[in-house]
């Protein structure tokens, strides 16, 4: 592959990743139980909203100050799907 082809490939790959991120974000927003989320204590509510926007479970756990496996259970209760 020439340098230009490599650059094109990388550009295409990054665009694909960006489109996937947007698609996954929309799915998380759509399925989320917003009533459940709004009733949570501030840290948990913020962490759930952060997760919906980013899909980043580790940073969300830090916000919530709970472990990853407990946060995963919370995502199920809030009906927020994991999509990877």
């Amino acid at each position: 592959m020439s340098e230009a082809e490599v650059k094109d490939y990388e550009k295409e790959l990054l665009e694909k990743i960006r489109r996937e991120e947007e698609e996954f974000r929309e799915i998380r927003r759509k399925y989320a139980d917003w009533n459940f989320i709004e009733k949570q204590p501030p840290r948990i509510k913020a962490a759930l909203k952060y997760y919906i926007e980013t899909g980043d479970i580790r940073r969300a756990c830090k916000i919530a100050k709970i472990s990853i496996s407990v946060f995963r259970k919370l995502l199920r209760e809030a009906n927020i799907p994991v999509i990877v």
Binding site: E10, L13, S69, I80, V82, V84
Partner: protein, 187 residues
């Protein structure tokens, strides 16, 4: 014959443990390595009781990364964090990627950061990463999960989604279903 070796990160285990057919994982892989750093993160009862049972049976193996693995994993965390287009990874996922590469083990993950790193970083291009989607695909093709027709295949993936509240990306799911249909010559 089962595949030889896999190494699992936390995100994979804490989803897979909720799946009704979770036992198939140990039929597909002879040994599943669980790094100490991953085990330390598993706290919910369903996941930890399943993992503990598998450790007791010898299907899973508690793995202590070497100092060199840890150093390489730390370097990988820093490298990925320096790339703004990549999702960050933390030490447990990075350990899985580094050890998976060193031992030629399939890395089981549902961590998007780890997945994107193997797609975009040249030094990780030879690391094989499987999500539950790929594990289920393999299980059906190997006939560990029996199917007779397309609807059965679709049901297998749907059951996983229902049990775990995990959604497979639709395009990846379609690719997986088509692959199974073609391999097994189903209608």
């Amino acid at each position: 014959m089962s595949l030889k070796l896999a190494i699992s990160d936390t995100c994979f285990i804490i989803d897979w443990a909720y799946y009704r057919r979770r036992s198939i994982l140990t039929e597909i892989f002879k040994t599943i390595l669980v790094p100490e750093q991953v085990l330390a993160e598993i706290e919910d009862e369903k996941s930890i009781s399943w993992v503990s049972a598998q450790l007791a049976k010898g299907n899973m193996l508690l793995f202590t990364p070497s100092p060199l693995d840890l150093r390489k994993a730390e370097e990988l965390v820093l490298k990925i964090s320096s790339k703004p287009f990549l999702r960050k990874v933390d030490l447990p996922e990075a350990i899985c990627l580094v050890v998976g590469q060193r031992l030629n083990a399939i890395v089981l993950t549902e961590n998007r950061g780890a997945l994107l790193a193997t797609r975009t970083l040249n030094e990780l291009k030879n690391v094989v990463v499987w999500r539950a989607l790929e594990v289920l695909t393999e299980a059906i093709i190997r006939k560990t999960i029996k199917v007779k027709k397309r609807e059965d295949v679709e049901r297998v993936f749907r059951e996983y989604e229902n049990d775990t509240k995990h959604i497979f990306p639709r395009s990846d799911l379609k690719y997986a279903i088509d692959k199974v249909i073609k391999c097994l010559k189903l209608k």
